[in-house]
Symmetry: C2
Subunit: 453 residues, 2 copies
């Protein structure tokens, strides 16, 4: 259970996310659509940075992984073969008193009797299986055959295209296929802000291998993925690896690790790393009648490859980064008095804006002109933000709150009015230490690029 | 009408797209899902390059545009207010003879009688309106109120979040909100490969302004967008601007340009640039009861902003780039004889792989080691591909066909075995001219980066 302090902390984070344009409720002016979220100007940049970094590390920097991007609308045969049509469901009960729709495992038990957690009612329907997939109809006919599902995970489109990609990429085992994209689950009770939503984005790798490599690769990918989280600024002390016990794993999995993060609302899964054996490809081979076998030229064997899957949630990771980064400390205001400040200590590589640029005064044309020169200089290499409004301390504070790691101020020294030696230098301020140093404008890009890209 | 040669050209392009992993039919091993496509390893990179370049030009390089990323699942109230629930439909007829579902405007007229284009039948149903939106149910209850739509365009989520973004971004008019994301339309007859599909991706900018700025900004954005297409390698001679006549524009639009491209299957729209007046914001203001007005601090006026919308299709632009790039010419094989070759003359900035690296022989360890050094050197800056299999001419040909602009061969000169002055130099081959030149390995990155990023 989360403590009251944690709940308060979470409230502040949600409020900051809305106020500063990270995350808005979807369709908000119409009362919102439960379980769906929109990313605002800062949120979309944070999410892009995360996804681009994942793609760089998981695809571009590797010889053994290629990418793909499959459709969301999915043929029902795909999800019958994968087991989702039959088995992707939660047991659900309705409360006849308050009409709430509840997941059966969320009922409260008092004196051995199950009660509705909303109203305390005991008049509950029998549990029934509720399939979590969204269904729609494709084409102009209303026949059964026209059903399509919104994919509940990106993984299945990888399995279904395995043979096409194997043939065109000429890869040898072990090799992987990576995908980032949206998936949809009709959660009975979306909750914890963006953590459990009905529309979400996944970053999945299916890494195909020989059967005897599976257990080692499971370990390998668990370690790789832990490194990834550290590289985006999530402290390893807040990450936990759960070795999912036999009884709780999918029946086809020979081993699964859950990588969990200590959110303010509790320890929750960020990513699953699962050794799925040859279950998926075998199912699709059987159902489609198409061979999904691999021919090993060295051993002259033909077999269905096994697969290890690191599957991460984009929205969860964005939320974890924000929760991890959120801090309150003290900083001096323009009069030198200490005031409390909110700061997002995002990893510079992830921060939506890398550098803010301020002219000391907005009504001094040479300061403004010089500041705009600095903007033009840095912009080709990183996201920048120009701000001339308000006292300089307040401008810093606005950037601290959204995680901008660097602030550059153009002042009278920059113009060389006081000390010619300081001409064309600026103050560079570090968000976390709040230290300021004098840096030549021409050295700025070089100083910053390696830290933010 | 497309000529037989155009049809053949299109067939070759579709076949290349599948064979080399640009685009696959979705759910292909189960017979495919009509109107949905999967992007393979090369297609996903091409699409990423296009989207990233659009984002760079339209968001990052501008002071006056911010981005967002909204949910696909959309509250029905949003699409009632926008007019989609009522009016986003095509007239449709069924042929009672062959059971085909047809768009009314696709019927063939012979001697004044409408006939089915499939079977020639004349027994057709009356035309009825068929709404193009995909519908699904959200939550565990089957009530009417639980309907949600898959968004038919990304634009509406921008309008709905206008106020939130205005407040957090502190922008002054004119300013824009940009979005890239999927949208869905239940087309009666998907056709022309990925051109008209049921699931597609859009790149949309809503550029808000004062009413009197609308017509000028319409011209401005038309010109900006034409430049964009030239910058990604689409010849201006193949682009056409259609000034949509009054009678064919949406009733609320004061001016619309269609930017069309000469596809092998005919001249078709790539992008619409529309001056939509204050229609959308006014509709949402009325329907939601929330003020979507802007307060102009200089003039002290309060009003609903007008908007100019450049709306481009990702999939259509990817297809246009491939069609534009596809060429057949002649190249010498390894014996010096001329052979026909297929080459994708993609703009280097768009090419999925920027540089291919080949050791002359795969069984010469020093050549392989040096080639891998070059891979490691270039990889942090661009996508590279290492290939050691087959004759060198064949390896070039494989890269030509997927549009790789540069090829680097590591040969015995590189090892300094013949001429010490050539040690650590490689041949750099240009895809289009097929010219080769000798370049020092240390100069490679510098030579290539500015051309491919």
């Amino acid at each position: 259970m989360s403590t009251p302090t944690d709940a308060q902390r979470m409230e502040k984070i949600v409020s900051l996310c809305k106020r500063r344009g990270f995350i808005f409720q979807s369709s908000e002016i119409y009362g919102g659509l439960n379980g769906a979220w929109d990313y605002g100007p800062l949120g979309v940049e944070l999410k892009r940075n995360l996804k681009n970094y994942w793609w760089r590390v998981m695809v571009h920097e590797r010889d053994d992984v290629v990418g793909m991007d499959g459709a969301i609308l999915t043929h029902p045969a795909v999800l019958k073969a994968s087991g989702h049509v039959e088995g992707f469901s939660d047991p659900m009960v309705d409360c006849r008193t308050c009409k709430a729709h509840l997941r059966a495992d969320q009922l409260v038990e008092k004196k051995g009797v199950k009660q509705c957690p909303n109203c305390g009612g005991k008049d509950l329907t029998e549990a029934r299986q509720f399939n979590l997939m969204f269904e729609t109809h494709v084409g102009a006919s209303a026949e059964e055959s026209s059903i399509a599902y919104l994919r509940p995970e990106t993984a299945q489109s990888i399995f279904v295209q395995f043979k096409n990609i194997l043939e065109m990429s000429r890869k040898k085992l072990p090799f992987g296929i990576a995908q980032i994209g949206k998936a949809f689950r009709n959660e009975i009770n979306p909750r914890n802000f963006t953590f459990r939503s009905r529309e979400f984005e996944q970053m999945e790798l299916e890494y195909f291998c020989r059967p005897e490599q599976g257990m080692d690769l499971l370990e390998y990918w668990k370690e790789e993925r832990l490194k990834f989280y550290e590289n985006i600024g999530i402290a390893s002390a807040k990450l936990h690896v759960l070795n999912v016990p036999d009884a709780e794993r999918a029946f086809y999995s020979k081993g699964t690790y859950d990588i969990e993060y200590e959110f303010p609302f509790g320890r929750q899964e960020l990513e699953g790393v699962a050794y799925r054996t040859d279950y998926d490809l075998s199912q699709h081979q059987k159902a489609s009648g198409k061979s999904l076998e691999y021919f090993d030229e060295e051993t002259r064997e033909k077999f269905v490859p096994h697969v290890v899957e690191p599957s991460a949630g984009v929205d969860r990771t964005v939320l974890a980064m924000i929760c991890e980064a959120y801090a309150e400390d003290e900083a001096p205001n323009d009069k030198g008095q200490m005031e409390s400040r909110v700061v997002l200590r995002l990893h510079p590589r992830m921060a939506p804006i890398k550098c803010a640029i301020f002219p000391l005064l907005k009504n001094k044309e040479p300061l403004v002109a010089k500041a705009k020169e600095v903007v033009a200089l840095l912009r080709p290499q990183m996201t920048v933000f120009y701000d001339e409004t308000g006292a300089i301390g307040r401008r810093y504070r606005r950037q601290d709150e959204i995680g901008t790691p660097f602030g550059v101020t153009v002042d009278f020294e920059t113009l060389g009015e006081r000390d010619p030696a300081l001409r064309d230098t600026v103050t560079l301020r570090d968000r976390d230490s709040m230290q300021q140093e004098r840096v030549a404008i021409k050295d700025l890009a070089g100083r910053l690029v390696s830290r933010v890209v």
